[in-house]
């Protein structure tokens, strides 16, 4: 029996390892084709990552990406593709910033209010897609993409100075106003900078995610629905309710994605708030196989690629190399996981067949003897 477990771990690692190797080789090829040194960019990036301030940047970015990836992963476990994490995250961050800036409460309560608003707005925005899917059968892929576009327009309108936004003197940027200091979350000051407090919350959520999925009835129902909707339904799961619930949870977590930055650094939502985080979250969820530990390493890797590549331009290498690499990782991951999955399934079937045949032969011999 042990053998199967070892196999499982090996196969689990084989997928990402294969994907990363392929992506690495292909990126190197791209570098060669463009007539650049294929090795130096990597060594430059590794050197860069040795600076403490870059390390802090990487870690904080990891926290943000981890939340986005968790939001995507919970959908994946249920066979739902929430492409709308990006829109959910931006809208939630903006509304939370507006609410946070408009009140003044004692410290922890103020932060709690901002967190709560972010969760609710994220869940609401994803819930629209969930509602459309359960009542009208609209594919969540289509509706969440559209909701992303709607969120973008909605934010652009809301942030106009005529509505909820403010324009700072001498700046083109629009913001939602500064949140009072009671609504800031203290971080951990280390050499090289400040690790956002919410980064730790993000990692703690990974533990919650693992526990809920693997150790609760609800998690079992959710995974069962993802594995086979018909079987889950026959087992007593209300599939529609499950779709809606999973969408709400996914959106709620997506809503938290902007908080490390909002609570720890900017204290306001502005036009400069990063976009595309939700899409990177999809890459990470794919690479990390929806496993909380896998997600962490995947988020760390992507953050490293982004933050450590910033200075490549100075050495004459385009930093877009990492964008290419990220894209290649996604393609390689999808292909290699399917290959590894099929291989694993076939191998196990063969093994079971062999072991049973061996048992049967033995029984026969015993009888003959």
């Amino acid at each position: 029996m042990k053998k199967f477990d070892k196999d499982k771990v090996l196969l689990g690692i084989a997928g990402p390892a294969l994907a990363l190797a392929v992506a690495f080789v292909l990126t190197t090829l791209v570098l060669l084709v463009s007539g650049l040194d294929p090795i130096e960019p990597y060594s430059l990036m590794i050197q860069e990552a040795e600076y403490p301030d870059i390390q802090v940047l990487i870690l904080n970015q990891t926290g943000t990406y981890y939340l986005a990836a968790l939001a995507v992963a919970i959908g994946f476990r249920m066979n739902l593709f929430n492409i709308g994490v990006d829109g959910q995250y931006r809208l939630a961050a903006m509304v939370a910033a507006v609410v946070g800036a408009s009140v003044e409460l004692p410290g922890p309560l103020h932060v709690l209010l901002i967190v709560l608003v972010a969760v609710l707005v994220g869940a609401f925005w994803a819930g629209v897609a969930g509602f459309l899917k359960t009542t009208r059968g609209v594919s969540e892929v289509v509706s969440t993409i559209m909701l992303n576009a709607i969120a973008t327009s909605l934010i652009a309108w809301l942030i106009l100075p005529a509505n909820l936004g403010e324009q700072l003197k001498g700046s083109n940027d629009l913001t939602t106003g500064e949140i009072a200091e009671s609504g800031w979350m203290t971080g951990l000051a280390v050499e090289g900078g400040n690790i956002y407090g919410f980064t730790f919350v993000a990692f703690a959520l990974g533990v919650v995610y693992w526990f809920v999925l693997n150790r609760t009835r609800f998690g079992f129902d959710l995974r069962a629905t993802g594995a086979s909707e018909s079987a889950a339904q026959a087992s007593g799961v209300d599939a529609k309710k499950m779709v809606l619930t999973a969408m709400l949870i996914s959106g709620g977590i997506a809503g938290l994605t902007g908080l490390p930055l909002l609570l720890g650094q900017t204290h306001t939502y502005s036009l400069a708030f990063p976009a595309g985080v939700g899409f990177t979250g999809i890459t990470i969820a794919l690479l990390g196989r929806n496993n909380p530990l896998g997600l962490f390493f995947a988020a760390l890797l992507i953050s490293f690629l982004e933050k450590a590549s910033a200075s490549l331009d100075q050495y004459g290498y385009p930093k877009e190399i990492t964008t290419i690499m990220k894209g290649l990782i996604v393609i390689a991951v999808v292909v290699s996981y399917e290959l590894v999955r099929q291989y694993g399934l076939r191998r196990q079937q063969q093994k079971v067949g062999e072991e049973l045949a061996a048992q049967a032969r033995k029984n026969k011999e015993d009888v003959a003897a």
Binding site: R215, T216, R217, S228, A231, Q233, S235, G236, D238
Partner: protein, 513 residues
């Protein structure tokens, strides 16, 4: 055409072994056997959808090997599938030329060809009718024409009568005779003995994956054929002593369900179903598949909301209860399609043991799963129900069908159900496992379990049931006493030919269909 020593293995099971068949040109050759006997696998091999592990196929003296259905079509073999593969929103002409555009073009030449084939074999097909406006029998003729259009000289028909009413069956058989008269060969797969005897020139019987004999339809009775099909060495499903009590366990009153077809026609699938199952009673429902059995099961387990009627379980009205509440309340469920409704194929066995009973001990306590207890209990089920597996961490997909079924039966029995829905409990299961599953149902029945048994295996139905009902077009049209009824009499009622209480008629012995 000759098949010699065909063997096909799937992981953990042998689907076909040592199949020997000789098919004469210009005849209707019937392949009969129970569900799961291996007929479909054999046809897939013959049609190039699967490659045999051993054995040879010879056509007109030449040995052939098919890598894909295209190869089979090129040699003149065509297949009419049980489930039609037609595009509803296209015309007959468009459906026929689809994928065969190179043969006779897509215009008037194709239309002429279709008319020519239709007239030659009496198929009565209008090339410009929309497929969505055609009935089932017409669609089947379009499928046959599609195959002929591609130049097939040998037609494989997979259970062609399963979806037809008796008059349509007769019309189909007339078509088949026309084909035969023109020198074509028809391979006809069925498990309905009366039909087989009336249309076939030769019969080959398949049992447990191998050919067990041939029969001459002129001299064989349905009873002899049934014996050949089921096999005398088969354990009898007979239940000896009656354990029926007068305490009602499940009462169904006036259950109604209407369904809208894809083409917008509202069809009644359950028309006022009423029955009572007592403690210790097995109620068997006989019927040709597609007469509402699936819908009845799904309404009982709560996966479909009926339009009317009351379901009472052990004195409690559960008509509006959710599937989970019904399962917790003591309904066990052996689904007819275990891959779709009974298992998570890519999950380990112990997680499959939790499926359907996640809220019950030993699987969880107060909302928290207990994987340790669930694993231990899975070990017990594997032991007690003789599930052949190297361990409980392997995926359900790696077990053979019989062992998957034993796991499901073990799981459902482990929660002491009051009422068990057993839909085709031994379909696709090997002999040993079949006897075990029967024993387990009998055992539980002795302890007061009420069972609803739905099966296509008439011997299983008659042997295991205390009461028999016949379902036809969404209604329970007849009842019978399993102690006296024969499979042939039951089979005839299943076509809607007989209603009311079926009395055993000694003179009618052996008269099928």
């Amino acid at each position: 055409m000759e098949l010699r020593g065909i063997t096909k293995r799937f992981p953990g099971v042998v689907a076909n072994h040592d199949i020997d068949i000789t098919i004469r040109k210009g005849t209707v050759h019937a392949l009969v056997g129970e569900n799961g006997a291996g007929k479909s696998t054999l046809m897939k091999i013959l049609y190039g959808m699967q490659k045999p592990d051993e054995g040879t196929i010879t056509i007109d003296g030449n040995q052939v090997s098919f890598a894909s259905p295209a190869d089979a079509i090129a040699t003149g073999i065509g297949m009419v599938h049980q489930h039609f593969m037609l595009a509803d929103n296209l015309t007959v002409l468009e459906n026929v030329v689809l994928g065969g555009e190179k043969l006779h073009g897509i215009g008037s030449r194709a239309r002429d060809k279709i008319k020519e084939i239709s007239d030659a074999y009496g198929l009565n097909i209008r090339p410009d009718a929309l497929v969505e406006q055609l009935g089932v029998a017409d669609r089947q003729r379009v499928e046959i024409l599609k195959v002929l259009y591609r130049g097939a000289r040998t037609l494989i028909l997979d259970e062609p009568t399963a979806v037809l009413v008796p008059q349509e069956v007769d019309a189909l058989f007339d078509n088949l005779r026309e084909l035969k008269a023109e020198g074509l060969t028809v391979i006809f797969i069925s498990h309905k003995l009366g039909e087989v005897l009336s249309v076939a020139d030769d019969i080959t019987v398949i049992r447990r994956g191998t050919t067990v004999g041939t029969a001459d339809p002129k001299t064989t009775t349905p009873k002899q054929l049934a014996e050949l099909m089921v096999g005398s060495e088969l354990p009898s499903p007979e239940t000896r002593e009656s354990t029926v009590t007068d305490v009602p366990m499940l009462q169904v009153d006036g259950l109604r369900l209407a369904q809208t077809d894809p083409d917008g026609v509202v069809r009644e699938v359950l028309g006022g179903i009423t029955f009572t199952i007592h403690k210790g009673e097995v109620l068997g429902i006989a019927g040709v598949e597609g007469n509402g059995q699936t819908e009845l099961i799904e309404a009982l387990i709560g996966m479909r909301a009926p339009d009317g009627g009351v379901i009472t379980l052990d004195g409690r009205d559960v008509s509006r209860a959710s599937t989970r509440k019904r399962r917790e309340g003591g309904i066990g469920y052996i689904p007819e399609d275990r891959h779709r409704h009974g298992l998570l194929l890519e999950s380990p066995l112990w997680e499959n043991r939790i499926l359907g009973h996640v809220t019950e001990a030993p699987n969880s306590r107060r909302g928290i799963l207990d994987p340790k207890a669930a694993r231990q209990d899975t070990e017990r089920i594997v032991r007690e129900y003789d599930v052949r597996t190297p361990g409980i961490e392997v995926t359900a997909a790696s077990l053979s069908g019989g062992n998957q079924q034993k796991l499901i039966v073990g799981r459902e029995m482990s929660h002491n159900p009051k009422f068990l829905i057993a839909a085709h409990p031994t379909r696709g299961v090997d002999v040993g496992a079949q006897a075990q599953i029967w024993d387990q149902i009998r055992e539980a029945r002795r302890e007061g379990l009420a069972v609803l048994l739905i099966s296509a295996d008439l011997d299983e139905l008659i042997g295991l049931s205390d009461t028999l009902r016949v379902m036809y077009r969404g209604r329970l049209v007849a009842d019978a006493d399993p102690a006296t009824i024969t499979p042939e009499e039951l089979g005839s009622a299943m076509t809607g030919a007989a209603t009311g209480h079926l009395e055993h008629n000694h003179d009618a012995d052996g008269e099928g269909r």
